[in-house]
Every structure is written in structure tokens, then in C-alpha cells.
Symmetry: C2
Subunit: 131 residues, 2 copies
């Protein structure tokens, strides 16, 4: 039984290989991700991991741990607070904030931090769960 | 110069291969995506394309077309309205709803539809753009 305050995390180090694979399957070839020379001209100076790829780690902890297998996304809000660079180790943590009694629907706070404990994404997810 | 009402689209057919690649790079191995037998026991009966993979097409149209190369995500809200199955052709359309004059920041409505013109994702994006 899922309870308010339940929490789970998952960590992953994002590599250039991951970024190239995501660019391929999503079609997002934005040079801020793929082109070192272009990236050097941006405020962040270095190539960025796609925000939606980093957000995939939130999807992973939701789908694998809490609420876990069988859960289906209804909503995800993503606030991108800081850049993610190649080689950064990101930890996605999800915490249950609401569990409806009338329907199998839960709301979770979703936060991604890097290896320096800087918040890179914060937001909220709503999922339909298996009972 | 980006103006309110500007719009762009991108389409892609999502395959099982895309889903397997996204499961690999994100770590999201939820059986609703990967296991046909498990999926048969869910309300949708068939394996689903990851919501965050479908949302990658929004990232692609934002990063490639409008606002285009160099733009960086500040926020994305995703409301998952209908399932995406293997073989579905999704069109992501983004439309500028707000362009700040004081800062290089734009807001866009983001909608994904399938080949039957059913809305599968709707939401809003905020991006920092290159000027």
C-alpha cells in the first residue's frame, strides 16, 4: 500500500553515448547537445545532456521502484534548474505527496540532483497505478 | 524574430527498437513498455511507448525548428492524455504563446497527436533562446 512520504531513488551517470542515442531516437539534434564548438558559444560553455533524457531517469524510478512496474504516466511537470553535463551522475528521487482513495492515482514530488547535490530538475508527477 | 502564433511540427513513427533503446539509456524497464504478456493485463492491453520518449519529439521540434538550435529548456509540462503504441506516428506541434521583451524567454503550447488525430500529450514549454 502506497503511503504519503514513501520515497525511492535511482542514480545514473550520463555519457556522450547516451546523448547520441537519445538524439537518434528522439530526433533532437540541437547543437547545444551535439556540437562542442557551438556549445562553447552558449552561456554554459559545454555540451548539455538533453533535459528530456535526464527526465528519463525520473520515468525509470517511477516505473521500476515507486509506484513501480505497471504504473502509467498521467502528468509530469519538469522545471530545469541547472545544466547537466556529460559525465554528471544524476540521482532522481520521487516522494509520494498524495494518494487518492477513490481512484488508483498517486502524486509524487520528483527531484533530480547532480553529484554536487545541485538540483537540476524539480517537478511533480501523477501516475495511474496497478492495485 | 519569434512572434506569438508562430508554429512548427515534426513527425515520427515510434518502433519497438526506439522503445528498447530508450529503456536502455533511461533505465526505465517498466514491463508496460517491454513485456507483451504483462501489457496484456493492463487497461491498454498492448505495450506502450514511454511517455518521456514520445515527449522527446517535443524536445526535437523545439531544439531543431522553433525556437530552434541553441534554445535551452527552462520548463516542460506534460499531460499524457492517451496511450502511444508501437508503430504509431506521432506529430509534435509547438506554438508560441508568449515572448518576453525583457529577456530571451519564450513560452509555447506543445501538443502531440497520433495518426488518428487523437491528442496523446498536451502541455507547455518555456525556453531560453539564443538572440
Amino acid at each position: 500500500m502506497i503511503q504519503i512520504g514513501d520515497s525511492a531513488s535511482l542514480s545514473k551517470t550520463f555519457t556522450e553515448k547516451d546523448v547520441l542515442a537519445f538524439a537518434e531516437i528522439s530526433g533532437d539534434q540541437n547543437p547545444v547537445h551535439l556540437d562542442a564548438d557551438f556549445a562553447a558559444s552558449t552561456p554554459f560553455k559545454k555540451q548539455l545532456v538533453h533535459g528530456m533524457l535526464t527526465a528519463g531517469l525520473i520515468s525509470a524510478v517511477l516505473g521500476m521502484k515507486l509506484p513501480g512496474p505497471g504504473s502509467i504516466y498521467l502528468k509530469q511537470e519538469l522545471n530545469f534548474k541547472a545544466p547537466v553535463f556529460f559525465g554528471d551522475t544524476i540521482t532522481a528521487t520521487v516522494t509520494v505527496t498524495k494518494a487518492r482513495e477513490d481512484k488508483p492515482i498517486v502524486t509524487l514530488k520528483t527531484v533530480c540532483t547532480n553529484q554536487d547535490e545541485v538540483v537540476v530538475i524539480e517537478g511533480e508527477a501523477v501516475l495511474l497505478i496497478q492495485r
